[in-house]
């Protein structure tokens, strides 16, 4: 590890200075091994065969033919696979998604659901055999038609209640000088991390070992132990390097199938999802339809706020994209109503995807705010500043540090917002119309109980062990810096080991809570170890080890509104004759707690903002109503932003050390995407005078809108 920042860093201030990644050299030389890359003697390869109907029953599988193909070792399906149980509550407080409990029955809940696993000596043999497997179905009519007025929609509680409300909405809207009432839609979006899900399972000395790509070894161990009715101590999950997760890498069909096959064959079995399979087996963000109603006084103060969101889930598991939750934090109003509803369709179960709820919710709310600013004739930054709540709009709880105004002001200053002409459609650069837009952002800050150990070695070095996951966040490096400071030594003397469930229970890399939760546990263990060492006793050859558990400390946190905040600014260029939209520059200013490693933190913020660009302009999984499956389920059909789509972007932060955390951390993984798509969409309006309320803002939509605008002789809606 090298220190990038200039200047001298005292041994006790590793946190806050830029460090290249601990594992960086391994990653640039190809030495870093990911889940599907650990060699095993006698490894067999499993390939999933997926359903080609969206709903029905498996009538027959012609497995005999497949079993006779070269290299084929076994075919697992609902008739012969080991049984699993789904009657439990997992680490995250929810029952397991039954779509992960494969091969237990003949029912097909969605297209692309595993109906069999073919295991063979080589991956080529397994693939051909799985694709040759003939399956007969009793097909039933399916419904994959997600629409705002679906009659079967119902409210569903999640981490928060489905519905909140105060005040008389109709009365306040009627009394408002300015009213905005709009519907927004966001499409089905997929995580599309670069490393496909991969797991190798084997039994070793009576223990089940799974080499996996996941966001939390503790989580996966718990789920597998429950599913297979095993003592958690007899299951070990390791994930040294993880090629991206974004919410998708928990327990999924491939791990379950790999364990089944390893159990049946008593040899190591690897199952890797193909990119196409990921579109039906790796989770996704539900599409949403959202309605936002805002009513304001002449000076822009909100009297009425209503945000209603509908998302979809599978027929067998409840998951809700709580898009209406964002208003519960961001803005108050005399009448304040939010509702999250869901509809069950014959589709795979959606899941958490980077800023679940906040990403689509902030698009609708912050785009509606922009329209309200236009209605009121008030600058969008000023409108937000005028609506800063004094306490939690729904909870009534105090804010534990709300530095949104500082983000807005600093962002506006650096972006040059003050010089902005508010009129839309009046700036041109050749064929391009130019515009700027902004949005505000928040994402919850939290911590979850974790355990860690810190060991002092006789040679003066230290080892810290925690079942953390570095899915690209830089967690391994950040935790090294945190541990060094807590131990009072230079980071070079600390080795942090992660990604192994044998290190004890720990929080997952999710909810922007990983690094904070793990740092808390490491700080506690290291602090106690330091005290022990201060007593002056000799260190034995095996070292001195201290274990921490933050359950009690985190449970004692006083209730408060704890969040990270951000202000997003974007400039876009739009060619209305071709529909092309290009982001020209972007700036995000964040208040996200103490920044442990500026080098990698900037990457986290920028990555989130790039997700926002991608969400605003590119991403959309197209579901074919006739078959119930996707059309173009690959990275040529599902567009994520390329290099060429991403201009120079800046992310920076203001001092926001959280007094409620031992290291001052909040969390940075998700705040970068929140509001980013709205900033881009608002800029597209400023460029063209057309509001785009349906994402992504595709060329055909821009073209259609500009035609409408031309024919109606003025501004238009898309």
């Amino acid at each position: 590890m090298t220190t990038v920042a200039t200047g001298t860093a005292a041994p006790t201030s590793a946190v806050g200075t830029a460090h290249t990644r601990v594992e960086g050299r391994d990653k640039v030389t190809g030495a870093a091994r990911y889940a599907g890359e650990i060699p095993f003697e006698n490894l067999a390869h499993g390939w999933l065969a997926l359903s080609t109907v969206a709903r029905g029953r498996i009538r027959a599988l012609e497995t005999d033919t497949v079993l006779g193909m070269p290299g084929v070792l076994a075919v697992l399906d609902h008739r012969n696979a080991p049984r699993v149980t789904t009657d439990y509550t997992g680490l995250l407080g929810t029952p397991p998604d039954p779509t992960c409990a494969v091969f237990q029955h003949d029912r097909v809940p969605h297209l692309g659901w595993p109906v069999a696993l073919v295991v063979a000596e080589t991956s080529e043999q397994a693939r051909e055999a799985a694709e040759a497997l003939v399956v007969h179905y009793d097909q039933e009519p399916h419904d994959v038609g997600f629409k705002g007025d679906h009659p079967d929609a119902y409210p569903l509680d999640s981490h928060g209640p489905a519905v909140t409300g105060k005040g008389d909405l109709d009365a306040e809207l009627a009394a408002s000088a300015h009213v905005v009432d709009r519907e927004f839609t966001t499409p089905e979006e997929h995580h599309s991390m670069m490393e496909p899900h991969a797991a190798t399972a084997r039994w070793e000395d009576g223990r089940l070992e799974v080499i996996d790509s996941n966001q939390g070894a503790t989580w996966v161990v718990g789920e597998l132990a429950n599913l297979f009715s095993l003592d958690p101590a007899s299951v070990r999950v390791r994930s040294e390097h993880v090629g991206g997760g974004f919410g998708s890498k928990g327990v999924r069909a491939h791990q379950v199938a790999a364990v089944m096959a390893a159990t049946t064959l008593q040899r190591p079995v690897r199952v890797v999802l193909t990119r196409r399979q990921m579109f039906s087996l790796a989770g996704y963000r539900s599409p949403t339809t959202q309605r936002v109603r805002l009513g304001a006084d002449a000076d822009g103060r909100l009297r009425a706020l209503e945000h209603r969101s509908l998302s979809m889930t599978s027929t067998v598991h409840e998951f809700i994209e709580s898009s209406a939750g964002v208003a519960r934090v961001m803005y108050d109003a005399d009448a304040h109503h939010t509702a999250n509803r869901v509809v069950r369709l014959d589709v795979p179960t959606p899941t958490w995807m980077r800023a679940p709820g906040e990403a689509p919710g902030s698009f609708a709310l912050e785009a509606a705010l922009d329209e309200l600013a236009e209605e009121c004739g008030i600058d969008p930054v000023e409108l937000r500043l005028r609506n800063e709540p004094a306490k939690g709009p729904v909870s009534g709880l105090p804010f534990a540090g709300r530095n949104l105004p500082a983000c807005l002001r600093e962002g506006a200053r650096r972006f040059g917002w003050a010089d902005r002409d508010p009129r839309p459609g009046v700036r041109r650069d050749g064929r391009w119309l130019l515009g700027t837009g902004m949005a505000a952002a928040s994402f919850g800050a939290g911590a979850a109980p974790s355990t860690a150990t810190a060991t002092a070695h006789p040679d003066g070095t230290f080892t810290v062990r925690i079942a953390a996951a570095d899915i690209g966040t830089g967690a391994r490096t950040a935790l090294t810096l945190v541990a060094a400071d807590a131990l009072g030594v230079r980071p070079e003397r600390v080795q942090v080991r992660i990604g192994d469930s044998d290190f004890g229970p720990a929080m997952i890399a999710g909810g922007s809570m990983g690094t904070r939760s793990w740092s808390w546990a490491i700080t506690a263990a290291a602090g106690e170890l330091r005290e022990r060492l201060a007593l002056g006793s000799d260190i034995p050859p095996e070292g001195i080890t201290v274990r921490s558990d933050t359950t009690a400390a985190i449970g004692a946190l006083a209730p408060a509104e704890r969040h990270s905040y951000g202000a997003q600014f974007a400039e876009v260029a739009v060619d209305v004759t071709t529909g092309e939209v290009r982001v020209r520059r972007m700036l995000g200013i964040f208040a996200a707690g103490r920044i442990v490693n500026p080098l990698t933190a900037r990457g986290q913020f920028l990555g989130g903002m790039i997700w926002g660009i991608s969400m605003a302009l590119h991403e959309e999984a197209v579901r074919d109503r006739a078959t119930g499956g996707h059309v173009g389920a690959d990275l040529a059909g599902y567009h994520v932003a390329t290099h060429a789509d991403v201009p120079h972007i800046e992310a920076d932060w203001i001092d926001d050390t959280d007094p409620g955390d031992p290291v001052g951390i909040k969390g940075i993984g998700e705040i970068g995407i929140v509001g980013a798509a709205a900033a881009v969409a608002n800029a597209v309006w400023h460029a063209t005078g057309v509001r785009h309320r349906d994402l992504p803002i595709r060329p055909d939509r821009v073209l259609a809108a500009s035609q409408d605008a031309t024919s109606s002789g003025g501004a238009a809606d898309a």
Partner: protein
């Protein structure tokens, strides 16, 4: 053609597997392969060279980029049997002992990655792209492709277009562009990207306004 070669060809036509010799990072590897085996799978599953990554297996992400006879290509669409006789360079073959290739060093120093899974492909692609540019190849954003116009300066936009075959879902694009610019500058003995085209390639904290 020697009798041995003729006989080998005949066998390959009838058989669905062959014994082949691949030259990878200067070393020869002789192995039997199923004809279906891609170069990517041969590297990863047969030769324990797992630095080359499988992101999509369909030529749609660039994670498996390697150098074939010195030029960048995707290993997932290259059949191993058809790669016999070609010089293959993977990410494992770039460093000179402990000394990283300048592109690797720039990625490391400037944090040109997050999860690291697209990184070997980005690095191999960057090496190829820098050489293509040095050879005077235009790109889709080159204003005037006629040879009389001369090679375009390696601006940030040129780097972005040339690197667009490598997706990075973590969104490390900004620092990757900086790393490529720095390495290209080092390779040509000039400043990292001449001043006129340096706009947008900076790690400074100055305003973007």
């Amino acid at each position: 053609m020697s009798a041995l070669a003729t006989r080998k060809k005949l066998l390959m036509a009838l058989s669905t597997s062959s014994v082949i010799t691949l030259k990878i990072n200067g070393e020869k590897h002789t192995l039997p392969v199923d004809h279906r085996t891609t170069l990517l799978d041969a590297l990863r599953e047969r030769l324990d060279l797992t630095g080359t990554k499988k992101g999509c297996d369909q030529g749609q992400c660039g994670a498996c980029t390697v150098l074939l006879d010195g030029r960048r290509g995707v290993a997932c669409l290259q059949l191993a049997v058809a790669a016999e006789g070609r010089e293959i360079t993977t990410v494992e073959g770039l460093a000179d002992g402990e000394r990283l290739h300048p592109v690797q060093q720039a990625f490391l120093d400037l944090d040109g990655f997050q999860c690291g899974y697209c990184t070997p492909g980005q690095i191999c692609s960057a090496i190829g792209a820098i050489e293509e540019h040095a050879a005077g190849w235009p790109s889709a954003v080159t204003d005037d492709v006629r040879p009389e116009a001369g090679p375009p300066p390696l601006s940030a936009d040129e780097i972005r277009e040339r690197m667009s075959g490598n997706l990075c879902r973590c969104g490390a694009y900004n620092s990757i562009v900086q790393a490529v610019a720095r390495a290209a500058g080092a390779a040509s003995g000039t400043d990292p990207v001449p001043g006129a085209s340096v706009h947008g390639v900076t790690d400074s904290k100055e305003t973007v306004a």
